[in-house]
C-alpha cells in the first residue's frame, strides 16, 4: 500500500521540495507539503521536518517553530508512534520542541560548513532499518550542528542506543577531525527513546540520485516505504 508522507513547511523552510523530489524516487511513497500552522498529520504514515532557516533562525535555530501549532501536532503523532524525521533545521526544531534530547549550538569553529560527511550507522531506528554498522556519505550545510547535552543526557542516549549516526573518518573511526561541527562524541543524529523520531544534521534528500553525487539518502527515505 502506498505510504503517505507529510513534509512540514515553516516560514523559511527550504528543503521540502528536495524531499518531495527525493521521495518521488522511492517506490510506494507519496508526499504532501503541509503549511505548519494547518498541519494535520492524521491519515499520514510519516512526517518530515526538512531543513532551512525557519523564522530566519531568530532567537535560536528552530526556537520560534516550537510555538507553532505544528509542535503539538508532532508531539501527538510522535506519542502514537509515527515515524518522524528532522534533517538539519528539522533536527534543531525537534530538539527545541523536546521530541529529541539535547540542543544544537554553533559549530565549534564558528564556520558554516557545506560539505560531504561520512557517518556510521550505530543503531536501528524507524529511519535506519537494517543499516547498523554500515557507512553513509551525505551532504551537510549548517552553522549550528554542534549537538550538546549535559553529561547525564549524553550517557543516557549512548547507553540506550539512541545515537543513530556518528561522524567518522575514512577509516571508520570517530575522530575529532571527522566531525564537521564539534558535536559531543561525533553525534550526527539521534533517535527518541522509542526510535520513531530521528534527527540528523546531514541531508538525506540531497543524496538520493547519482546526479547529485550519491544515493545513500535513499536508504533512510525507503525505510518507511
Amino acid at each position: 500500500m502506498t505510504k503517505r508522507v507529510a513534509l512540514l513547511r515553516f516560514p523559511g523552510t527550504w528543503s521540502e521540495r528536495d524531499f518531495q523530489h527525493a521521495f518521488s524516487l522511492v517506490p510506494g511513497v507519496e508526499t504532501e507539503i503541509l503549511w505548519h500552522a494547518e498541519a494535520k498529520l492524521k491519515g499520514f504514515d510519516a512526517a518530515i521536518l526538512p531543513g532551512g532557516f525557519s523564522y530566519g533562525d531568530y532567537l535560536r535555530a528552530g526556537a520560534i517553530a516550537k510555538i507553532s501549532p505544528a509542535a503539538a501536532e508532532l508531539k501527538r503523532a510522535a506519542a502514537e508512534g509515527m515515524p518522524i524525521l528532522g534533517s538539519c533545521n528539522g533536527f534543531q526544531i525537534l530538539c527545541e520542541i523536546g521530541l529529541l534530547p539535547g540542543a544544537l549550538v554553533r559549530n565549534d569553529h564558528l564556520e558554516f560548513r557545506c560539505d560531504w560527511v561520512r557517518m556510521r550507522v550505530e543503531h536501528e531506528s524507524a529511519w535506519a532499518k537494517g543499516l547498523t554498522g554500515q557507512f553513509l556519505r551525505m551532504p551537510i550545510a549548517h552553522g549550528e550542528g554542534n549537538w550538546v547535552a549535559d553529561e547525564r543526557v549524553v550517557a543516557q542516549v549512548e547507553n540506550r542506543g539512541q545515537v543513530v549516526f556518528r561522524y567518522v573518518d575514512d577509516a571508520g573511526i570517530a575522530t575529532a577531525g571527522a566531525s564537521p561541527n564539534g558535536a559531543i562524541h561525533n553525534i550526527a543524529g539521534i533517535a527518541s527513546g522509542e526510535g520513531n523520531v530521528v534527527g540528523l544534521m546531514p541531508h538525506p534528500e540531497r543524496c538520493a540520485e547519482l546526479l547529485v553525487g550519491g544515493l545513500d539518502g535513499v536508504s533512510l527515505l525507503q525505510a518507511i516505504a
Partner: protein
C-alpha cells in the same frame, strides 16, 4: 498596567560558547589582556499585566517557553512598571 522586562539570556557555564571565544580572540588582537568572554543576548519586552506579580509570571513564561533553551541557556530578568 504597562510593564517593561529586560531579559538576559546567557549560555550555561558548562556549555561552550564559541561566539564568546571568537569575541575574546578579537579583543585580544586589540592588544587587551582578555581572560575570557561569554556572549549572551538582551531582550527587552514591553507588555501589559494586571500587577507586578502577574508581570513576573508572564516573564517567567516568556523565559521558559521561548526565550531561553534550558538545555543550553540560563536567563534572568528585571521587571518594572513602564
Amino acid at each position: 498596567m504597562k510593564f517593561k522586562a529586560i531579559i538576559h539570556v546567557r549560555p550555561k557555564p558548562e556549555i561552550r560558547d564559541p561566539q564568546g571565544e571568537a569575541v575574546a580572540g578579537a579583543l585580544r588582537t586589540l592588544g587587551l589582556s582578555i581572560e575570557g568572554v561569554r556572549a549572551g543576548k538582551e531582550i527587552v519586552v514591553h507588555f501589559d499585566a494586571a500587577d507586578l506579580t502577574a508581570a513576573r509570571a508572564a516573564v517567567d513564561t516568556m523565559g521558559k517557553e521561548l526565550l531561553a533553551n534550558p538545555v543550553i541557556e540560563d536567563y534572568s530578568a528585571d521587571v518594572a512598571a513602564a
